[in-house]
């Protein structure tokens, strides 16, 4: 952890918060990524195009950095394929049950001062920390 890591983290956070604000000001929507993406499967036809546009923007985002001569900031996954499959399934089921993920509850929900989102955020961070503790320090995962 260096000073530039803190500056990057703060700058990244401001951009994420501003993006959430822009989606609220423009479309009146919460920037919950699991909800926007999951809605691609189930939303009514007229409610789909903006979701596709948002996801395309999300994919394009890191490339704005590359176009400006910077790094993409994207590292390859650490976990192997079967673990990635399991992790994805748990995230899909969990965010559907909880109606949100890090963005919807952790950023947008906390910004709206929602007690529900605060509870969800505390639980998923605690469970993420417990999982990493078990995998790294009990099971001895190298990553």
């Amino acid at each position: 952890m260096h000073t530039y890591d803190i500056v990057d983290a703060l700058l990244g956070g401001v951009l994420i918060g501003a993006a959430a604000g822009l989606l609220m000001a423009g479309l009146g929507r919460i920037a919950g990524i699991s909800g926007i993406t999951g809605g691609l499967l189930s939303a009514a036809a007229g409610d789909r195009a903006w979701r596709v546009a948002f996801v395309l923007g999300l994919v394009a985002g890191p490339w704005l950095r590359v176009l400006a001569g910077g790094p993409s900031g994207i590292d390859p996954p650490l976990a192997g394929l079967p673990w990635m499959a399991l992790a994805g399934a748990l995230v899909g089921i969990g965010t559907r049950l909880a109606n949100g993920c890090t963005s919807g509850h952790g950023v947008c929900g906390l910004a709206r001062l929602s007690p529900r989102s605060l509870a969800a955020t505390l639980v998923f961070i605690a469970c993420g920390m417990a999982t990493v503790a078990v995998l790294r320090h009990v099971a001895g995962w190298p990553s």
Binding site: G26, S42, V59, G73, A79, A98, V123, M129, A130
Partner: protein
């Protein structure tokens, strides 16, 4: 058209922020979750900047009668802190801790992250779809 452009721009800003903030690097995310080891606080700084920025811009947005491109602001209606919320958050947290990906960073990293991320996305959407069926939504 204006609505789609604005959704794209919001997505791009979001993805750029994830990339600059380190969320598209599993080492950073898992390092933040690794409180029992060599803890890396970078993600805490990201949240500490993102939440107040969203809170401020939300309140500026809500001063208007309606959003620029829609008739109404949409807010989640759910209020209750129930077992479904807590169980869902727990499962999501476990999945997050296994691979270091939540939905935003996984999508932002999709194109260069390799086939494992496409597998992650496929099972994420399958899990979402299956839960919808089970809940009868």
């Amino acid at each position: 058209m204006k609505k789609l452009a604005m959704a794209f721009l919001a997505g791009a800003l979001f993805g750029l922020g994830l990339s600059i903030g380190g969320m598209t690097r599993p080492t950073v995310v898992l390092g933040f979750l690794d409180v029992a080891g060599h803890w890396q606080p970078q993600l805490a700084f990201l949240m500490a900047a993102a939440v107040p920025t969203a809170a401020l811009t939300y309140r500026l947005a809500w001063r208007r009668q309606r959003p620029w491109c829609e008739a109404t602001f949409r807010q989640p209606a759910a209020r209750r802190i129930d077992a479904q919320l807590l169980a869902g958050a727990a499962l999501f947290g476990i999945g997050w801790g296994i691979a270091g990906y939540c939905p935003g960073p996984a999508l932002a990293a999709l194109v260069v992250g390799g086939p494992a991320l496409w597998v992650w996305l496929a099972t994420m959407l399958a899990g979402w779809w299956l839960t919808d069926r089970l809940l009868g939504r």
